[in-house]
């Protein structure tokens, strides 16, 4: 049977990037413990709309923990108190009647607030654009089984590739570092033979882009790993660093970078 609870929410409201922003207190009444956290916000938003107040803006889409669109801080913890769980999969049974909950957006210079709990994460896209791919034209691929990949490498590559790009790692890092995100893609592709030809250029370019976006450095606080809804392991950051050191000992592959010297 469903249990109902009353909660107090302190929600960050901010009209736009230039607005000062502030916490606003809302009461959430008769919330069922079977609701997801976002369904609880839906209920609050319906009530706000009925009163003619602007609903709280938040990003979400699949609501099954895989698209990576949702995410904000709940009582200072990215995606809230449940481990390995995005906020859309967090259910209200994690809370109890009378709880006071603080909700605020990811905070990082590289993720400017767009409105309320919505931030701009396009920096992540630019990090991938800098080299987070294998260059293969459609139609140019060899027969799939022509290159065997040892199962342990393939499995580990999958673990890295499971990243959903939500940004919780950046939000929970005291330095707002994107090392976990970036290293996951670098590791995924470096672990596969298909990724080897571009390996050294890839790590150089992606790390340079990560720095250019204003993300901080990794100083091994490990907060990212604890907050990651997909359990991406921080050993990938070590792998990224090794990849980078190796890359620095060889000349760039692409002629343009070589000429720049």
């Amino acid at each position: 049977m469903a249990h109902l609870m009353n909660l107090v929410l302190n929600v960050w409201r901010q009209k736009g990037p230039k607005d000062q922003g502030r916490f606003v207190r809302y009461e959430a009444k008769a919330i069922s413990d079977h609701m997801s956290f976002l369904e609880m916000l839906d209920v609050v938003n319906e009530e706000l709309a009925h009163k003619g107040e602007e609903p709280i803006a938040f990003d979400h889409d699949c609501r099954e923990g895989i698209c990576g669109m949702c995410g904000f801080m709940i009582n200072g913890v990215a995606h809230g108190p449940a481990r390995s769980t995005t906020v859309c999969q967090l259910h209200m049974r994690m809370f109890k009647d009378g709880d006071e909950i603080t909700i605020e957006p990811w905070r990082a210079a590289a993720f400017p607030v767009i409105r309320d709990l919505i931030v701009n994460r396009s920096a992540f896209d630019r990090v991938i654009q800098a080299g987070g791919y294998i260059s293969v034209r459609a139609g140019a691929a060899p027969e799939a089984n022509s290159v065997p990949v040892p199962k342990p490498n393939s499995d580990l590559a999958f673990e890295a590739a499971a990243c959903i790009g939500c940004g919780a790692c950046v939000a929970s890092c005291p330095n707002a570092s994107a090392a976990l995100f970036t290293s996951a893609k670098i590791s995924h592709l470096a672990l596969l033979p298909q990724g080897h030809p571009e390996r050294t250029d890839r790590v150089r370019k992606m790390v340079a882009q990560m720095d250019a976006e204003g993300f901080g450095h990794c100083s091994s606080h490990k907060e990212c790993e604890a907050a990651c809804p997909k359990d991406i392991n921080i050993s990938f950051i070590a792998k990224m660093n090794r990849e980078l050191l190796t890359a620095m000992t060889v000349a760039p592959n692409d002629v343009k970078s070589r000429q720049k010297g």
């Binding site: 469903a2 069922s32 699949c62 994460r121 294998i134 799939a144 393939s154 596969l192």
Partner: protein, 642 residues
């Protein structure tokens, strides 16, 4: 209007090759002069944009999410079919073709399906080369599993996240082209209308979801890969943002909408827990391999702890009704039987709106037979997901399941080249109607999206462009300006209603109506009732809608309102199509048309056609155009799973 499918003739194995050879080409030096618009960044759209970019066209790609990496293809769990025959178990391109035509209950075009099966092998090559980490065996070679509707193991997978890995592969290729400057990405941008000049698609009108700005984008060709319309039912396994606006607005501009009543229900989803429910979560069908489906025999037991109900008082109804297939009957049958049980008042779980809608999926026998470790090895991630959502542990308490809308086979009508009835408007992926007939087999959606995106559209769009002079119309063209003004007026209209009800409350009501009368089982009477109700509700929508805030800013209520407005119109067409199709086929079950055993009964004499609906104006009834289907290779037969 005569519908020309432009399907090639001749031996089916040679048709795609023949079509490719006959396709015109664009000189590499001229490609950048052609502007291509791709709407959507899922498997079909992402792959098409990346590939057309690689070829050197000047591509713009649009998505409503904050990044192309988030399109709903990402949520596909199971896998992707390909006729590689790596298992040496007798698979072939022809067999995949055969299974897909049969699985679609003989309502798909043979030429298209054969091409899909043929391209399936190239897709796997492409994805592996991109670094998609498919499951492998200890040899280092690719692994396969079997999936519903097939007796061979041809499904490639990446744990329960195949869609995610394939989409990230396409996203990475797209990212490379964005960096190279051949693709311009427009995230957080929603297409609200199609620009048609002299009967030819020449661009789209979009709304910037952050600034609210309405902008016209003109081009030489428009490619829609904007997904399905499952959210017309409000509760579905689709992402919250999935909508029909791009396809519906194109329909209103002249693109025929085909077979909207072919919608697919997935039998194993977590049941609704309350009226606040915002979406339904699918649990992989593989659970039925070891779980046993049952409901209590006695109404008095419905609310009891299931473990306390003795074996003799349980009705394992699938095993009773289908002794040879048991719990493994196809999706549509498993779904309908679950509905029957609940309609008879034998459902379990919480009452929502006065009815218990759930059946047990019980693993206690599997745990006894195989041991908890083996069950965990097979299903632990699913069990964890179930527990996260319901708070119940499936090792201890039987799961509760209920069917939910999952995929829509219908969509914009396209010919063999994936061109709609509007010249210059191409449609790929779930947004078109083409390959799955009345029912889609598991692990075939990913295959179709990528086949369209990587291999079909790049050929057929080039063929189209080779026949037109490059040069997108100017923004000052009267038809461009008129379309922008119409979009702006529509937004103003929605914002100005000033009523009391939110877009969500209308969407919920529409969804319930659709699910009750145009869901798993349909009757003429019910459909007529819905067809009376929908216009009433729509009228209320236009008189009592409330939107807080304006159109000139980020406004999620406004986004929803625009989508719901289009769902209303699509809902009506879907009911009309379901009413007109006096037969049962695949996902479309009309209670009047069933065999003595309660199975779907097709009427091949009268309904072996694609129903392509034509928009004829705001107040006029849509016109039905028929594309007859002929079967030269796979001859229609009745399914039986007894």
């Amino acid at each position: 209007m005569e519908l020309d499918a432009r399907a090639p003739t001749g031996p089916i194995e040679q048709r795609w090759n023949e079509a490719r050879f006959k396709s015109k080409l664009v000189n590499p030096a001229n490609r950048r002069k052609y502007k291509v618009i791709v709407v959507g960044s899922g498997l079909a759209g992402g792959a098409a944009a990346a590939t057309l970019g690689e070829l050197g066209y000047n591509v713009s790609c649009f998505c409503y999410q904050d990044s192309p990496r988030r399109a709903h293809s990402i949520a596909a769990q199971g896998g992707i079919n390909a006729a590689k025959n790596y298992q040496n178990d007798g698979d072939s391109v022809y067999r995949l073709f055969y299974d897909t035509v049969k699985g679609g209950d003989f309502r798909a075009r043979e030429s298209n399906v054969y091409r899909l099966a043929e391209l399936s092998v190239n897709i796997i090559d492409q994805c592996v080369a991109q670094g998609v980490p498919f499951a492998r065996e200890y040899s280092g070679l690719l692994g396969n599993r079997s999936f519903g509707g097939a007796q061979v193991a041809r499904t490639f997978y990446a744990r329960g996240q195949t869609g995610q890995q394939l989409l990230l592969g396409a996203y990475q290729s797209l990212s490379k082209q964005i960096e190279a400057g051949t693709v311009k990405m427009h995230p957080r941008t929603e297409m609200l209308d199609l620009i048609v000049i002299d009967g030819v698609a020449r661009g789209i009108v979009t709304r910037d979801l952050v600034s609210g700005k309405i902008v016209a984008h003109t081009a030489d060709v428009v490619v829609l890969c904007s997904g399905g319309y499952g959210n017309v039912f409000y509760l579905s396994t689709n992402a919250k943002g999935c909508n029909t606006t791009a396809t519906w607005r194109s329909h209103r501009r002249g693109a025929f909408f085909a077979n909207p009543c072919f919608t697919q229900i997935h039998p194993t989803c977590i049941p609704q827990s309350g009226d606040y429910q915002s979406k339904l979560t699918l649990m992989s069908e593989s659970l039925r391999n070891d779980g046993r489906v049952w409901v209590p025999k006695n109404v008095a037991d419905l609310a009891k702890d299931p473990k306390s109900i003795p074996e003799a008082d349980r009705d394992y109804y699938l095993e009773r009704l289908y002794p040879s297939f048991g719990n493994l009957v196809p999706r549509d049958i498993a779904s309908r039987r679950a509905k029957d049980m609940c309609d008879q008042g034998k459902g379990v779980g919480p009452e929502v709106a006065g009815v218990r809608r759930g059946v047990y999926l019980d693993f206690s026998e599997a745990v006894k037979r195989l041991g908890r470790d083996t069950v965990a090895e097979r299903y632990d991630n699913l069990f964890q997901m179930y527990e996260r959502i319901t708070g119940e542990n499936p090792y201890e308490v039987p799961m509760r399941m209920y069917p939910a809308i999952h995929y829509t086979m219908g969509g914009l009508w396209v010919d063999y080249n994936l061109q709609s009835t509007i010249t210059g408007l191409f449609v790929g992926g779930e947004a078109n109607f083409s390959d799955h007939g009345a029912n889609r087999l598991g692990a075939s959606a990913l295959m179709q999206g990528l086949a369209d995106g990587y291999f079909v559209l790049p050929v057929t769009v080039a063929n189209y462009l080779a026949g037109v002079k490059p040069g997108a119309p100017d923004d000052s063209h009267p038809d461009v300006k008129r379309t922008v003004l119409e979009v702006e007026a529509r937004i103003k209209q929605l914002c100005a209603i000033g009523g009391k009800r939110t877009p969500d409350s209308f969407h919920r009501e529409l969804g319930t109506l659709m699910w009750d009368y145009c869901g798993m089982a349909r009757t003429a009477e019910g459909l007529k009732f819905a067809l009376g109700k929908i216009p009433e509700l729509r009228e209320q929508f236009y008189s009592d809608l409330s939107i807080v805030g304006s159109g000139e800013e980020l406004n999620q209520m406004l986004e929803k309102a625009g989508r719901v407005a289009d769902f209303f119109e699509l809902a009506e067409l879907t009911c009309l199509d379901a009413l007109a199709r006096e037969e049962s086929a695949g996902g479309h079950f009309r209670e009047e048309h069933q065999t003595e055993d309660g199975e779907a009964k097709r009427n091949d004499e009268a309904f072996s056609y694609v129903a392509a609906w034509e928009f004829t104006g705001e107040t006029n009834a849509p016109k039905l155009n028929k594309e007859p289907l002929t079967f030269e290779y796979v001859h229609p037969s009745q399914r039986s799973y007894k």
